[in-house]
């Protein structure tokens, strides 16, 4: 028999709507599993069972009263702890914000509430989403459910691990350079970074404003599409929120005849693990079997993506994180005068990676260096985007690996920031270009670690992206492999 925690979000919402199960039943099933697993994986920073039960009971009362229910009725959704949720802490996994409680909800959270979702808890991340392994959390790392000595990826590691292990069917993550897709690939689930502007950033604690995007993590493509449908849409409180509305996200699984898939050769260079290369190769065969035509394309600027990213993102971050000065919120350090108070508050409140990026960004923007670094990076970024856009003249989606390797061991790259940065090499382009990209599981390595493939679409091309992803998922018939019980 399928347990409730194994069900898809679609199935759970249907059962709650049909009064087959109560929202409280759904909540209890996930709570039991989450409370058992969390000590082992460190997925949640905040999990308050009574609050979850309260929300579920409240929904059950509305079900009993015959209320119209939203598309996520009774579905537990975990939220990366860099989104503002009233009634819960919003720490960004930072000592600085440890005591912070937002007095207002992020736009995506408002949408979840309107859709009758259960806000299940806040998940772990690299401090302020800066990292690729969730090791930069001030509150301890998240572990990969499939190998507890390995990373779950990052920065949305907590969300990915929670979904992968069945602690929740859905989670929100944020993706600035791959922070949804990479942990999704490492944990064997689906992670979607929408086009820039599709999901309002209002209430997402900013890391790099021109790159950040909220997106869904789920165990299958349809659940990811469902969550995207709920949280997407124009928000007048975010000047970068698009008025473009996405349509046909939940299209049927048909043939891919006529669909043109591009293989950017630069994504298959040296440094790509042979097993990853093989798994993506198999996926390519599966897609052609579904009627898609595959062509090679060239994106020669790809190799500059990391260099551009590690100028643009830290520069914006150095400014976005200036508000953490100990005046209005967060922790305050000692200091007899305000300037020394600023320095101690920030010096004590931020972890090493956050400091590193603030300094890198401050350097790149500082007088004398601006043109050579920030200015140059923005120009290369524009060229990168032009190159990507041109590629979409000839193909509908691009197929690449999501990560060069499977999940690495905790501690493996922690001492080498540049090695850690290079792990983002295949994912940063989508952020720099504002295009949508999705990671879909495409097999396992010989030691059983998940491998993900990445599909990149043109801006606002979510519908065709999801169509290809769904067709692949359907044809690959891999099924979902649950991780072994911890301690078993």
């Amino acid at each position: 028999m399928t347990e409730l925690w194994q069900e898809s979000a679609r199935a759970l919402a249907q059962k709650v709507r049909d009064r087959e199960v109560s929202a409280l039943d759904v909540a209890e099933a996930h709570l039991a599993r989450a409370l058992r697993w969390n000590d082992h994986v460190g997925a949640f920073l905040h999990l308050e069972p009574d609050d979850v039960r309260r929300q579920a009971r409240e929904l059950d009362r509305r079900v009993a009263a015959g209320a119209d229910l939203g598309p996520l009725a009774g579905v537990p959704v975990a939220i990366k702890d860099n989104m503002c949720v009233t009634g819960m802490p919003t720490t960004c996994a930072s000592r600085f914000l440890e005591p912070y409680e937002s007095p207002w909800d992020a736009h995506a959270i408002t949408k979840l509430r309107e859709a009758d979702a259960i806000l299940f808890g806040k998940t772990n991340l690299d401090e302020f989403a800066m990292g690729s392994s969730t090791e930069n959390s001030a509150f301890g790392p998240t572990r990969n459910p499939y190998a507890l000595d390995r990373t779950a990826g990052g920065s949305s590691g907590g969300s990915a691990a929670a979904v992968a292990a069945g602690l929740v069917p859905l989670a929100l993550g944020s993706d600035t350079g791959g922070s949804i897709r990479q942990p999704a690939a490492f944990c064997g689930i689906v992670g979607l970074k929408p086009s820039y502007g599709v999901v309002s950033r209002y209430g997402l604690v900013a890391f790099a404003s021109s790159l950040d995007q909220i997106g869904p993590l789920a165990r299958d493509v349809d659940d990811a599409a469902l969550l995207l449908d709920v949280i997407g849409g124009h928000d007048p409180r975010d000047a970068t929120s698009s008025v473009h509305s996405l349509k046909d996200l939940n299209g049927d699984v048909g043939s891919l005849r006529g669909m043109r898939i591009g293989i950017p050769t630069e994504y298959f260079g040296e440094g790509l693990a042979p097993e990853v290369r093989a798994a993506v190769g198999a996926a390519h065969a599966t897609l052609t079997g579904r009627g898609a035509t595959v062509t090679e394309v060239s994106l020669p600027l790809t190799k500059f993506g990391i260099a551009v990213y590690y100028i643009v993102a830290p520069s914006e971050a150095s400014s976005n994180l200036a508000r953490y000065d100990g005046v209005r919120f967060g922790t305050r350090g000692d200091g007899d005068d305000v300037s020394s108070m600023f320095q101690t508050s920030r010096g004590d409140g931020f972890g090493p990676e956050v400091k590193r990026r603030i300094l890198l960004g401050t350097f790149a923007l500082s007088s004398g260096y601006y043109d050579a670094y920030y200015g140059r990076a923005q120009k290369v970024r524009a060229a990168l985007r032009a190159e990507m856009e041109a590629a979409f003249d000839d193909v509908d989606v691009l197929l690449t690996p999501t990560t060069p390797t499977v999940a690495f061991e905790l501690g493996e790259k922690a001492q080498d920031p540049l090695a850690m940065y290079l792990n983002d090499v295949l994912t940063v382009s989508a952020n720099l270009c504002g295009t949508p990209a999705i990671s879909v599981p495409c097999g396992r390595s010989s030691d059983g670690m998940p491998i993900g493939l990445q599909l990149i679409g043109p801006r606002f091309g979510e519908a065709s992206l999801l169509r290809v992803a769904r067709a692949y998922e359907n044809a690959a018939e891999m099924g979902y492999r649950w991780p072994a019980e911890p301690g078993a």
Binding site: T90, L97, Y100, S102, W104, R201, G203, E316, F329, L365
Partner: protein, 484 residues
């Protein structure tokens, strides 16, 4: 010492919008601390700015009125620095693509009209307020003001004297008030200015330039003028002390103490601040299209300069009267309404700039806000002009009541019995009585002493309790004395 004064002015002007520049908090002065704030203007984690369209349009209207070149593409930038009153650790401002460049402010000098060229106009957000208490180890911060829309207007160093600095601010303020986009009140801080002052001294070895000093904390036009005078004197002093080496001194920032009327050096800048400007990623670049330009154009009324000229041409007013009437748009408009209601222009101008202005100042309101109906003022002006009431009576009895009670002047004349007596038969009797009472004066007049007539006139006026029309009295007296 032969020298030339160079003053460039940086003016910050708060725009009078309903809501702040990037959020929907009200723009209001004097609310309890931190009650006009929200996640955006407090810089809370996750909050995002959305620009206020009307603030943009008002700034464009100002740029139009000052003949600036308005950018077709503009953008916001972040100016990064730390200060407790700056919520986000950066100020949203404009750096390399300001809203407008060029343009000028015209001032009237003894040599005629002088154009002070403008460098740029840009939009930014105001910061909060720090409250320091002397002797305290603490400061308090109020963010009500944070996020109020500001325009910064930067002039070229074309201002050549402290008086011109005052005139520049006066002229700029007049334009701003005509546009009705700001209260432009220095005391309340919605117009703030920082003059940049230095002097170029002519020496035998060429021109010696003193280092530029920026003066802060000026809260009145008078202080701007005073501070500039102080600085010019100080620069001359520095030159006397240091000679040509004065040019090597660093730029500095000064404050002004209005108790002692003196400037004092706050700090010397060895190097420029590193503000790390970069394009604001939360706000995409903005295109200024024809719709905004059209709306902004419609906001630009006839400006003071054009109005002054027209008043002089159409109404035959002196340059002085025209300038004073046109200082406030509401006064100029009021003047024209009174004239349209049938009053003659010149006496109307005299009344407005004289007694009416006096009452307005006493009540600390604009002339147009006195509550004096234009039609009533017109009828009062006419009553005086037609000799139906004396100027004195109008001044003393009519105007105060018209202002206080909204009374109708014609009715007041009747009610108070102020109508001038110009019935010559009535006045002839009074005149004969006066001659009888003061035969010496009569004799003196007849002997050619013109002034003696005044004594007799005074008697007649006293007899009629001031209601006699002085012109008629005089002619009746002359008639009797010269013909009998």
């Amino acid at each position: 010492m032969k020298y030339r004064v160079l003053i460039g002015m940086e003016v910050h002007l708060q725009l009078r919008t309903k809501s702040k520049m990037f959020c929907r908090c009200p723009v209001r002065f004097g609310a309890p601390p931190n009650t006009l704030t929200c996640p955006v203007c407090l810089g809370m984690p996750g909050a995002l700015p959305v620009p206020n369209r009307d603030a943009m349009i008002r700034a464009i209207a100002l740029a139009r009125a000052l003949d600036c070149d308005i950018a077709t593409d503009t953008k916001f930038d972040r100016k990064n620095y730390f200060y407790p009153d700056l919520p986000k650790g950066y100020q949203i401002s404009q750096f390399d693509r300001p809203l407008a460049t060029g343009g000028c402010v015209e001032i009237v000098t003894e040599e005629g009209i002088k154009r002070i060229r403008l460098r740029r106009i840009h939009i930014e957000e105001d910061v909060g307020k720090n409250i320091h208490e002397d002797g305290s180890k603490l400061s308090r911060v109020d963010f009500n003001r944070a996020g109020t829309p500001l325009v910064e207007i930067v002039s070229e160093p074309d201002i050549a004297s402290p008086e011109e600095a005052h005139k520049y601010l006066d002229a700029l303020r007049a334009v701003v008030r005509y546009l009705d986009i700001s209260d432009a009140n220095m005391q309340e801080g919605n117009l703030r200015c920082e003059p940049n002052v230095n002097i170029h001294i002519e020496t035998e070895d060429g021109v010696v330039k003193t280092p530029i000093v920026e003066v802060k904390n000026l809260n009145s036009m008078r202080n701007v003028e005073r501070a500039a005078i102080c600085e010019i004197a100080r620069h001359q002093e520095l030159y006397r002390e240091l000679g040509a080496k004065v040019a090597d001194l660093p730029r500095s920032t000064c404050g002004f103490d209005d108790q002692t009327d003196k400037t004092f050096v706050m700090r010397q800048k060895e190097e420029a601040h590193d503000y790390r400007y970069f394009p604001e990623p939360d706000i995409p670049p903005i295109q200024i299209g024809s719709a905004w330009l059209g709306t902004a154009n419609d906001m630009v009324p006839e400006l003071p300069r054009a109005k002054r000229q027209r008043f002089a041409d159409d109404y035959g007013l002196s340059a002085y009267d025209a300038e004073n009437l046109c200082r406030e748009r509401s006064t100029a408009d009021y003047f024209e309404t009174v004239v349209k209601a049938g009053a003659a222009a010149k006496p109307t101008a005299n009344w407005l700039l004289g007694d009416v202005s006096f009452h307005a100042k006493e009540r600390q309101v604009a002339i147009a806000a006195l509550g004096l109906a234009a039609s009533r003022l017109a009828s009062m002006v006419n009553l005086v002009e037609e000799g139906k009431v004396s100027r004195k009576a109008a001044e003393k009895d009519l105007l105060p009541r018209m202002i206080a009670e909204g009374a109708d002047p014609a009715q007041l004349v009747t009610d108070l019995g102020l109508a001038q007596v110009d019935d010559s038969s009535v006045l002839e009797e009074a005149a004969r009585q006066a001659i009888a009472q003061n035969p010496k004066a009569a004799a003196d007049f007849r002997a050619g002493k013109e002034k003696a007539l005044n004594a007799l006139k005074g008697l007649v006026m006293r007899e009629t309790r001031g209601k006699a029309n002085p012109t008629v009295v005089e002619s009746v007296l002359r008639n009797i004395l010269e013909t009998e």
